[in-house]
């Protein structure tokens, strides 16, 4: 029995197929979850993929947060279910208050797509344990509203508690405070990440294989559990 990892499709999700492919390549079983179903189909972990859920029309992630599936995801996350929010998924997690802070318009006001260098700052979360502490990786980044913001107190707390999961290196692509690319909740089971590890799982179609670690991390944890 391998781990079952659910990937939620909201209306407007775009990288859901990519996330399922990444789950598969990591050796787990991808399970498609639908935004209208509260039932998580007994998955062991959940990925909220990138895209423009509901067109991102109000604020990125603001409408998706209220979908039926999120009720169960939010409850599960509070009970320790590993949840990874990538890009739009990160925005949904912030809007759901599972993660602190918010994501705002990129400071240069353009959508940006680039291969981004990151440093893994916390290699102990459910989604990053396959990495070495301080490991540098390159994975694609693509967003229009990726600027991570929170008040100073929250930022200080995140730093103090080691909850900054990844930081941008070389170039801050969107004006994120303190170069933050991803954060985790207190328990380390919920991680939000702006760049896209699911686009770096095959050398043919991405800048390398650096993204696979997010998916193997959770698999390792689930199998060992």
């Amino acid at each position: 029995m391998t781990a079952r990892i659910g990937v939620v499709t909201f209306p407007g999700s775009l990288d859901d197929r990519d996330a399922r492919r990444a789950v598969q390549l990591a050796g787990a079983e991808p399970v498609a979850l639908w935004h209208r179903d509260k039932d998580l189909r007994q998955v062991d972990a959940v990925v909220l993929p990138g895209g423009f859920s509901y067109g991102d029309y109000l604020r990125a992630g603001a409408i998706a947060r209220f979908s039926p599936v999120m009720e169960t995801v939010i409850a599960g996350a509070r009970d320790g279910l590993p949840v990874l929010g990538i890009c739009n998924g990160f925005q949904v997690l912030c809007e759901s208050h599972l993660l602190p802070g918010a994501l705002t318009r990129n400071d240069h006001l353009h959508f940006v797509c680039r291969d981004q260098r990151l440093r893994i700052e916390n290699a102990t979360t459910a989604w990053t344990s396959s990495y070495r502490p301080d490991q540098e990786i390159v994975i694609p980044l693509k967003n229009g509203e990726g600027g991570y913001v929170a008040d100073e107190r929250t930022l200080d707390m995140l730093e103090a508690e080691g909850r900054v999961v990844a930081r941008y290196l070389e170039l801050n692509p969107n004006g994120s405070r303190r170069d933050i690319a991803g954060v985790t909740n207190e328990a380390g089971n919920v991680v939000g990440l702006m760049p896209h590890p699911e686009h770096a799982v095959e050398s043919l179609t991405g800048p390398g294989l650096d993204g696979l670690g997010f998916f193997t991390s959770v698999l390792k944890r689930l199998v060992n559990a």
Partner: protein, 81 residues
């Protein structure tokens, strides 16, 4: 220091996908009785010196040529009390 507010809204005949997305979401969130939603922009300008007729005329020109895209948007300028 005075504040001038410029509201920019899509013209009524122009499709407003943002407003529609909000409106469609409302019933699901348990809010009823809203028959239409339009979403636009609000600019708050801090103006140096007195906001006299000349200043307002300048801001109106700014709204017309820059803040609003008058091909698809209407705007409204007013001094905030």
């Amino acid at each position: 220091m005075a504040r001038v507010v410029v509201d920019v809204m899509l013209k009524p005949e122009i499709l407003d996908p943002q407003g529609q997305a909000v409106q469609r979401a409302l019933p699901r969130l348990g809010f009823s009785g809203i028959t239409d939603v339009r979403q636009g922009k609000r600019f708050e300008l801090e103006v140096e010196g007195p906001v006299d007729a000349a200043a307002l005329a300048r801001i109106r020109e700014m709204a017309e040529t820059f803040l609003a895209n008058t091909v698809i948007e209407d705007f409204d300028v007013r001094v905030q009390s």
